[in-house]
């Protein structure tokens, strides 16, 4: 957590994650090289390197872009989300090897600076078949580079989350550039329809996953709570909330997580201060609300991180009438102590007081 900036805080989970990425990449490259040596023994090693790294980078990009929506659709994919940036940085390095060898192979043999040659050797921007596809790859790699160098939390804090996230949203533009780089590049002469089909399947899969996840989330945000009394809105019944877990409700601007713990209900802002993770999808560990993404913690009664950490989230009033939970969407200042709502079980009825 954010007591001070530190280099990558290696822990067991990160190490396992990184070793798995490394092993996968080595296995993929070795398999590709061996299969190419068997099926196309005349290809030079440089060509094999260019192609193996390009396909690996493309595969990694599809995996990276599918993790987010998969984690939204099914919590079982959350562990993949935790260190997704490690995958992203790896993908950038693999892509950089591809780009470097591509420039070396196709642009470094003349009098012109290779980077100038990249943009001047082909200027058929008006043609699809002859489109300067390498420029598309260059700009995509540039975006990945900017994302890789700002992937550390240091940049998240210093650029502010809004700027940082805007920069990292450019991954979608980069994805489009890469697909067109492939379609207008290698596919124009390796015209086997299998390659087009594989690429199309990848794109359709990502589009489908994102639209499903996005639609699901927007639906959650669209639920209207109509019962209102003295500023409180009726959101659910007490029994719908599991012990040490939360239920989330979107009232006005943002979601609110209502946690049940130690016989009480507490309500905090759903957005984690670290990277805007969904606090309501976490659980209570050692008395603290724990974000499911990176483990940041907050005390349920005041939304403050336990010392020495300084993060705080807003708190809200919650009360129970009968067995119904009522929530006041008016937020208190971050870190404000609120007493919560006591759950009293009395002859199958629950009462409350605030």
């Amino acid at each position: 957590m954010g007591a001070s900036y530190a280099a990558v805080g290696w822990n067991r989970q990160k190490k396992i994650y990184d070793w798995l990425i490394f092993g996968f990449c080595v296995l993929y490259l070795a398999t590709f090289i061996v299969l190419t040596a068997v099926s196309n023994p005349d290809y030079t090693f440089e060509t094999v390197l260019v192609r193996s790294t390009s396909t690996l980078a493309l595969l990694l990009l599809h995996i990276i872009l599918s993790i987010g929506p998969l984690a939204r659709i099914n919590n079982k994919f959350l562990p993949l989300l935790y260190n997704r940036r490690h995958l992203g940085v790896t993908m950038f390095f693999v892509g950089m090897v591809h780009g470097a060898f591509g420039i070396l192979q196709f642009h470094s043999l003349g009098n012109v600076n290779p980077f100038v040659s990249l943009f001047t050797s082909n200027t058929h921007y008006g043609s699809l078949a002859d489109f300067p596809f390498q420029a598309l790859g260059f700009f995509a790699l540039l975006i990945f580079f900017l994302m890789a160098i700002t992937s550390h939390d240091f940049w998240l804090h210093n650029l502010t989350p809004k700027v940082w996230k805007t920069l990292h949203m450019f991954v979608y533009a980069a994805y489009f550039f890469i697909i067109m780089h492939v379609m207008l590049g290698v596919i124009q002469y390796e015209t086997n329809p299998v390659f087009i089909i594989i690429l199309a399947i990848g794109s359709v899969t990502l589009i489908t996953l994102h639209l499903i996840a996005g639609t699901k989330e927007v639906k959650k945000d669209s639920i209207k709570y109509t019962l209102e009394k003295q500023g409180f809105v009726r959101v659910c019944s007490v029994n719908e909330i599991e012990e040490d877990r939360a239920k989330m409700f979107c009232l006005e601007k943002e979601r609110i997580a209502v946690y049940k713990t130690n016989g009480k209900l507490f309500a905090v802002n759903n957005v984690c201060k670290h990277q805007n993770g969904p606090l309501g999808e976490g659980k209570i560990i050692d008395g603290c609300i724990t974000c499911p993404w990176h483990g940041y913690q907050y005390l349920p009664q005041n939304g403050q991180s336990p010392p020495p950490f300084k993060e705080k989230v807003s708190t809200y009033d919650v009360r129970i009438e009968g067995s119904e939970v009522w929530l006041n969407p008016k937020a208190y200042a971050e870190g404000t102590e609120r007493p919560g709502a006591v759950i009293v079980i009395e002859s199958n009825k629950a009462n409350v007081e605030i």
């Binding site: 043999l109 949203m169 596919i187 124009q188 015209t191 989330e217 993770g277």
Partner: protein, 146 residues
């Protein structure tokens, strides 16, 4: 993820749901009927009318062309299959068997397709000698003599 970001993601992917299929289909439609590879081909020139000589080799056909009045000469290189060396250079040497140290660089070929290069006039129709050279591995791939 905050609400505004969720909305932005949905908007972005709705846009990509349109752009990606359009891009893929457009690129697929643009696939050339003749399979060719013109990665770094300079603007292609038309073939000169007179086919002076033709040399059939494994994987490529090399032709010498000229204008009607023999004032312009052209080397036409037709790669029928992808080269094993991805970037090969064509040098013109003075006589058969010469290396490229004092050779004239004619041009570069990348893959399948037809490549045409202008040549200086020759006093003798049969005076052309070419070396196909792999610049990355520094080795001679082949020689072509007319």
């Amino acid at each position: 993820m905050i609400k505004a970001l969720r909305k932005k993601h949905l908007q972005v992917w709705t846009l990509l749901a349109i752009l990606l299929p359009v891009g893929i289909i457009a690129a697929a439609i643009a696939l050339p009927e003749q399979q060719y590879d013109k990665l770094l081909q300079p603007a292609s020139t038309g073939a000169l009318p007179v086919l002076v000589k033709i040399n059939e080799m494994a994987g490529y056909t090399v032709s010498l062309r000229s204008s009607q009045d023999k004032t312009s000469w052209q080397l036409e290189w037709n790669n029928k299959s992808t080269l094993t060396s991805p970037s090969a250079l064509i040098y013109q040497v003075d006589k058969s068997g010469d290396d490229i140290s004092n050779a004239l660089l004619i041009g570069r070929i990348d893959g399948k397709g037809v490549f045409r290069f202008g040549l200086r006039n020759s006093a003798n129709d049969a005076a052309y000698h070419f070396v196909l050279y792999d610049i990355i591995h520094h080795r001679q791939i082949n020689t072509v003599d007319f």
